[in-house]
Symmetry: none
Subunit: 400 residues, 2 copies
């Protein structure tokens, strides 16, 4: 749906919406038992809720397309991820809670190893320890380039973020990472006329970095990729006329919520902390985005049992969310992370919407297989928000 | 999905994909039993596979739209058939294994009967025997027109193909077939300025044919329709980065596969021959399109029992395909051909995708009714290829 159309239908109400995103929620049956993580877990609260809710499967990008965290969450927030791409540099900055400003150009950086001829021998510099990364980033911060702020932040191991801040910058740049060894790092090129100056600045910055890293083997050079600026996204609170808050223990998800203009609430590192934060701010907002990370982490590790435990831990805390009596409660995820795949998957993600008006459907268990038979069907992720708005009686009708 | 986007996600792997197209697969319940062909057939291998696979229904063009073989197969190959129309003349040429070259203009021809005033009395010349058609085509081959090759090939009964080969030709021509009796054949008109010369050539060719057919009653004249050139299609092996081979006993399907740039493998006339060909070339390709014709033939004949037998014959040979251990196996069709309809139908077609990561769904029988409840849902045919790519772990994720 067109966001402008949705925005035209949005009307105020006093109802409250909670959207729980279980990161990497969807799974796959393990061959030993023929049962998925959701089918294995003891999650009686989720099953009971599914029995009273409308269920279905959501797909974030397209059939067979595995979403990254950016597209996965934009979909949940009501944005078509294909219309609003988010660059890797921007995501990397969001992932370390870096507050990007409009116009900033962000890039993902790698420390790498080059030989005496300047040719790359290891694109990740042997995954140097994070402390080394922090020390090298300190060095890079000394570099100044004509009237532009070059902000550098360590991430993890060989990874860092470079953010250029100034006027008239552009992210339309080619990468300096040739994605191969045995060749020298590339020069950044402007991919559009308006990026010529930024390309020159990047190349001067890289040249200034070279002598500073010369003695820092194995991390004696760097590579930059995924240059981008923040996408121009219509603000979530404006589109849906909601006072919207995000509660997430992990920086990436706070960053994505901030990108669409949600208020990011300070919270602790555990999901119980997130729920406490929810309780504390219950009166102040209309919409809460509540992020649960542990399911994804376990899936990425290929740890089926840990993913089952993460689902059970969420299920045990769910009654605390229900106790707040939201008018609309949705449970879904930003993508699948099947433990047998050890990575994000393309499989559609189980979804439930509960409200006084969600209707019931044949589904009484919150699993991939059961949700496939639900009344929501298989729907694009960006269709979820309009459904939540409708269930919250926050949309007026279309056409008199 | 946009083919360029898909192409950007495609990555190499060593996995193998087999796509079985059962022509006219979908059926309808016969009133006597209330059961469709698939519901009647003893197809335990397909049912067992469905139990381990993800199931759904695919639709090739749109709701209520019956696909011809061209759109039906383009959909299976990942192309939106509405974006890439294939003209009748081109399909007719593909159907007789005629190797069209880029720029060739092909038309479907009919021998017809005209009266003394030149008015059409029978648009199909009483469906003359194919031998007569062959003889008359010999006569037409004598015609030469200014610098253009006019290639004529018999098809069946009153049908033939005309292919004009030369430079600067265009298929934007009106038909000479008025689709009515009691009127004279029409003159071909250019539908675009660039087609003026081709229109003149066609009309001169038709005028040269008239005296050659004068004594050949009832086939004493001809009609041309469906002028077209090969569509410009992105090459399948490039879009999906697959070494792709087609195995089909019937020329039409070989032609359609060739149209998208697949390698067409020499095979025999029976499905067992096709499987032998598959086995023989197993190591050389990543993707195999395997076509099974008998289901459609029986459906077109309105022979319910023969269609059931054709399904059972396929089922009996399926283990030989499984024995090759493809990483991804899909079974679907290019359209429905319900025996009670005696023609192609608009009904969506049962589809299964099996891989180690296809997940299971509630479906354990490969029928129209059961597949409607599968996790794949009801999906456009062109979404099948991205799913096969994902299951083959040949797509990288979208968005970091």
């Amino acid at each position: 749906m067109d966001l402008e159309l949705l925005s035209g239908l949005a009307q105020p109400n006093t109802t409250k919406i909670v959207l729980c995103s279980l990161d990497g929620l969807g799974g796959l049956p393990r061959p030993e038992t023929g049962k998925s993580e959701l089918e294995t877990a003891r999650i009686s609260n989720l099953h009971a809720l599914a029995g009273r809710a409308a269920c279905g499967l959501i797909r974030h990008v397209g059939p067979g397309i595995t979403p990254g965290s950016g597209p996965g969450h934009l979909g949940l927030f009501g944005y078509d991820p294909l219309r609003f791409p988010v660059g890797r540099g921007v995501l990397e900055a969001l992932g370390i809670d870096f507050e990007l400003k409009p116009g900033d150009v962000a890039a993902r950086g790698n420390f790498c190893t080059v030989d005496a001829q300047g040719k790359i021998t290891d694109r990740r510099a042997g995954r140097i320890p994070t402390e080394t990364c922090v020390r090298l980033v300190e060095r890079l911060r000394r570099i100044t380039v004509d009237g532009v702020q070059a902000l550098v932040e360590p991430v993890k191991e060989h990874r860092f973020v470079l953010v250029l801040r100034g006027t008239g910058l552009s992210g339309r740049l080619s990468e300096t990472d040739p994605q191969a060894v045995g060749v020298a790092p590339l020069t950044a090129r402007a991919l559009a006329p308006e990026a010529e100056r930024t390309a020159a600045i990047v190349n001067r910055w890289v040249e200034a970095a070279r002598p500073l890293l010369k003695d820092a083997g194995p991390a004696n050079m760097l590579l930059l990729r995924g240059f981008d600026q923040q996408p121009h996204l219509p603000r979530f609170p404006d589109v849906f006329r909601l006072r919207a808050a995000a509660i997430a223990a992990y920086p990436m998800y706070r960053g994505l919520a901030r990108l669409v203009g949600m208020e990011v609430l300070k919270t602790g590192s555990r999901f119980a902390d997130e729920i406490a934060t929810l309780r504390q701010h219950w009166e102040t907002y209309d919409f809460f985005f509540l992020h649960y990370k542990d399911t994804d982490k376990a899936g990425e590790d290929g740890d089926f049992a840990a993913k089952v435990r993460a689902l059970e831990a969420f299920d045990a805390l769910l009654p605390q969310v229900l106790a707040l009596k939201p008018d609309v409660l949705a449970v879904s995820g930003d993508h699948a992370t099947p433990a047998i795949l050890k990575a994000h998957g393309w499989q559609p993600v189980p979804t439930l919407i509960w409200s006084a008006y969600s209707g019931a459907d044949p589904v009484s268990r919150f699993t991939e297989r059961d949700c496939a038979g639900g009344t929501l069907g298989l729907l694009p992720a960006q269709d979820l928000m309009p459904l939540l708005m409708a269930n919250a009686l926050r949309f007026t009708k279309y056409g008199a």
